[in-house]
């Protein structure tokens, strides 16, 4: 039998409740990554849900993962690169970073095309205040996205956040340490974020997203390739060989000198690099 016909047949049964239906029409924020959009049942980060992102360490591209979504929410222009600054930002909603582990650096965010005026940063301090602030923001109904960093939480608190996100029609992303994967958490989506180096491209990484829990969807693993992944935070990194070509410098020397220069706090290898670089 044709699956579509079967689908309509089942839909016409009012007594039949299917788990997928509840979430299939849900609104979502596009993640900016095709593979991830396909893997999530809402077709993006689901509005009215909490997404937990579990990771071992910071600085592996975990925030870049959310930049397209944040840009979508605060309404910056994606084309804000060095060639054309965003002139008309059609701001739609608010976004907030609650308790970020480091200082969110304005130039990088503006490079990524995010309207800074619409991105609130809240240094809430401890976990209690972080969860409280996140809940307040979610409930207000004004925010499109709330990103929070939490060390310790519990099922009860995560449920509160999930309910707040549902009532406020907001999407929340909560960063938690990797070891909390074993804890129960009643949120709509849980993803383990790991990173692996790509052997072919020495300065790019591949992000692996293990979606191990998702409402109305199937757990699966999504990889985001370095080509899609905008680890350069909106601006082009001065790629060595290209830079060298531009400056008309001997290509092989500069590539070798720069990409293989191993630096350490020890004195011997570090000394080698500066001399090479200075000669360029």
């Amino acid at each position: 039998m044709d699956p579509a016909a079967l689908d309509t047949l089942l839909k016409n049964q009012p007594a039949l409740w299917r788990g997928k239906d509840r979430f299939s029409v849900e609104a979502s924020i596009p993640t900016g990554f095709g593979a991830l959009d396909n893997a999530l049942p809402a077709g993006g980060w689901g509005i009215g849900g909490v997404t937990e992102l579990l990771l071992e360490q910071h600085g592996i591209g975990e925030l870049s993962l959310l930049l397209p979504a944040l840009r979508h929410v605060v309404g910056g222009s994606a084309s804000c690169t060095r060639s054309q600054p965003s002139s008309d930002s059609h701001a739609t909603g608010w976004a907030a970073l609650v308790n970020p582990p480091y200082v969110p650096y304005a130039p990088a965010f503006s490079n990524a095309g995010i309207t800074l005026d619409r991105l609130l940063i809240i240094n809430s301090g401890d976990d209690i205040n972080t969860l409280w602030s996140t809940e307040q923001l979610l409930r207000s109904g004004l925010f499109g996205a709330v990103v929070a960093w939490v060390q310790k939480s519990g099922a009860q608190r995560q449920r509160r956040l999930q309910l707040a996100a549902e009532s406020g029609g907001c999407w929340a992303a909560i960063y938690r340490p990797l070891h909390s994967q074993s804890e129960h958490s009643p949120v709509s989506t849980r993803i383990c974020v790991t990173m692996e180096a790509v052997p072919t491209a020495a300065y790019r990484q591949r992000l692996t997203l293990d979606i191990f829990k998702v409402r109305a969807g199937n757990p699966q693993i999504v990889t985001i390739e370095p080509e899609e992944f905008d680890a350069s935070q909106g601006a082009e990194w001065p790629v060595p060989n290209r830079l060298a070509a531009l400056r008309g410098i001997n290509n092989s020397v500069s590539t070798a000198a720069v990409s293989t220069a191993a630096v350490s706090t020890g004195s011997t290898p570090a000394k080698a690099t500066p001399t090479t670089l200075r000669s360029i």
């Binding site: 650096y105 609130l120 602030s133 670089l277």
Partner: protein, 523 residues
């Protein structure tokens, strides 16, 4: 003109309720002591059964008066016909329902009252406190009319004709006033009449009628007993001798004869009653700034106990702001302790606000974080900064139903708990020094800056020394700037990754090329 008179027969006792509430930490349904008539709308929902819980006493909150200052009170209190102006006898001026149930009556000597109820709680009548409470109520009433006249010691006159349309008719207005007074636990006797003198007379006489037409006024006035009139002893004597019982009888006397017998003051009063003579009243004018204090009859051990008196004060602030058509931007709450210096809590709002629900939410949130060094004995509210309200036109078709809060309200709540510094938006500055290129502001509208070279999303507050193996990926980006002030920057920046794949923003100082520092993370 239509005047609503509010007579607060139990003002000294109602004031005491702050203490009862505070001690019991009960938020709702605190029984008020009440000796006014049973049909009183404010006393209907109160349950005397729970009353004894509060202080563990069978009767409670009865307010006696000291003989030293009761003569003043007696002159205005119609029921206390005490006849000992200079005697040392202490009498009961007002008492609560529980006390009445135990046989205590107003006017009873204190000794007799103690004989009936040995553990009667007595406190001295304080005229200043009562005046302060009346002023607080006057300020509160300003939200219903611009023409509010306090009639000391215990009556308010409010001109409501002009407010009827705004508040949706007389019944809904009365209901609203009644429920707010009930929330404040204030006993009230309302009366409505076309003239202020008649409204005053009815409310003091306990005639709770809504009299709108002159005809109804005339018939109601005619039935009032002359003993209720605020006349002098000489006139009363004359009336008794003439056998005049009701006001109707008095009004039948031709004016010339009336004046001859009782003097022109009596005639004028009668004419003002039915409106034949104008009776101008000077409306209460709020001062330029708001400062209202309340003494707590019992010490408040924690901030939770301050919420109820705060609600009363905030109600007055609401009336004040309405009358001045302003919003508050900076509110100071002063908490007074015994012997210690006062503790001040400052509440700053992003937008001037006159929304009392919002104010109360923010205030309670803020007070929750306050740790008291000592019990609070008094409390005051002071407006440090007032500002005109910004009104927004409402959409006829609300776009989003869930947006019932404004962003300022949400942020105010966060600021109240986390502090002003905790909330900001980043903005990029025209400075090439990495530390200065990002500033923390709140709603500082800027034009989009020029695009930057590759910059990390995370910046470390303090650069840290690199202590692991990394691989460099870029050529140096030299940043030399700031020689004109103390943060002189001469650095070469690189992008590098460690073995786990975290990407760093590294630099080394030009004059110290061996030392590598981590300044940011490419998250």
């Amino acid at each position: 003109m239509l005047w609503l008179a509010l007579y607060f027969p139990q003002l000294p006792i109602d004031r005491q309720l702050i203490a009862d509430e505070a001690a019991g930490s009960l938020t709702d349904n605190i029984p008020t002591g009440n000796i006014s008539t049973d049909s009183n709308p404010t006393s209907g929902s109160l349950a005397p059964a729970s009353f004894a819980i509060i202080n563990g006493a069978t009767s409670n909150g009865s307010t006696g008066n000291s003989a030293t200052n009761n003569s003043k009170k007696k002159a205005t209190s119609k029921n206390t016909k005490q006849s000992s102006p200079k005697g040392p006898r202490r009498r009961i001026l007002a008492c609560n329902k529980q006390a009445v149930a135990n046989g205590i009556r107003v006017g009873m000597a204190l000794k007799s009252a103690y004989a009936l109820v040995p553990d009667l709680v007595v406190s001295d009548y304080d005229e200043a406190c009562e005046a302060a409470h009346l002023e607080q109520l006057t300020l509160w009433a300003l939200q219903y009319s611009s023409n509010v006249v306090p009639e000391p010691p215990d009556t308010l006159l409010i001109e409501i004709q002009a407010s009827l349309k705004l508040f949706g008719g007389i019944n809904s207005l009365l209901e609203r006033i009644g429920s707010e007074l009930r929330a404040q636990h204030v006993t009230v006797v309302p009366a409505i009449a076309p003239t202020p003198a008649a409204a005053m007379l009815f409310t003091r006489a306990g005639i709770r009628k809504q009299i709108g037409s002159p005809q109804a006024l005339k018939t109601t006035l005619a039935s009032v007993n002359v003993a209720q009139l605020p006349l002098d002893e000489f006139t009363f004597k004359g009336l008794r001798q003439s056998g005049i019982q009701t006001l109707g009888g008095l009004m039948d006397i031709p004016p010339a004869a009336l004046t001859r017998r009782f003097g022109s003051a009596c005639t004028e009063f009668l004419y003002k009653l039915d409106g034949r003579l104008p009776d101008p009243k000077t409306p209460y004018k709020p001062s330029d700034t708001f400062l209202l204090a309340v003494d707590l009859p019992l010490e408040a051990p924690d901030t939770q106990a301050l919420i109820f008196p705060l609600k009363r004060l905030l109600g007055s602030l609401g009336g004040f702001l309405k009358a001045r058509d302003l919003g508050i931007r900076h509110l100071d709450i002063h908490l007074y302790h015994h012997r210690l210096k006062r503790h001040s809590v400052a509440l700053k709002f992003l937008d001037a606000t006159a929304n009392m629900d919002h104010l109360l939410r923010v205030t309670t949130e803020r007070l929750d974080t306050v740790v008291l060094k000592a019990p609070v004995i008094a409390l005051s509210l002071e407006s440090a900064e007032l500002a005109p309200l910004e009104r927004e036109g409402r959409d006829l078709f609300q776009k989003s139903q869930s947006q019932n809060q404004s962003i300022e309200q949400v942020l105010d709540k966060l600021v109240a708990r986390l502090g002003q510094e905790a909330i900001y938006t980043a903005s990029s500055e025209e400075d090439h020094r990495p530390e200065k290129a990002s500033a923390s502001t709140l709603f500082n509208k800027r034009y989009p800056s020029q695009p930057w070279p590759a910059r990390p999303l995370w910046l470390l507050k303090e650069p840290r020394v690199l202590n692991e193996q990394v691989t460099l990926h870029t050529l140096p980006e030299r940043i030399e700037n700031g020689w004109w002030d103390e943060t002189d920057v001469r650095r070469d920046y690189f992008i590098a990754s460690n073995t786990q794949g975290s990407y760093y923003w590294l630099y080394r100082l030009r004059h110290q090329p061996d030392q590598w520092w981590v300044h940011g993370l490419f998250a």
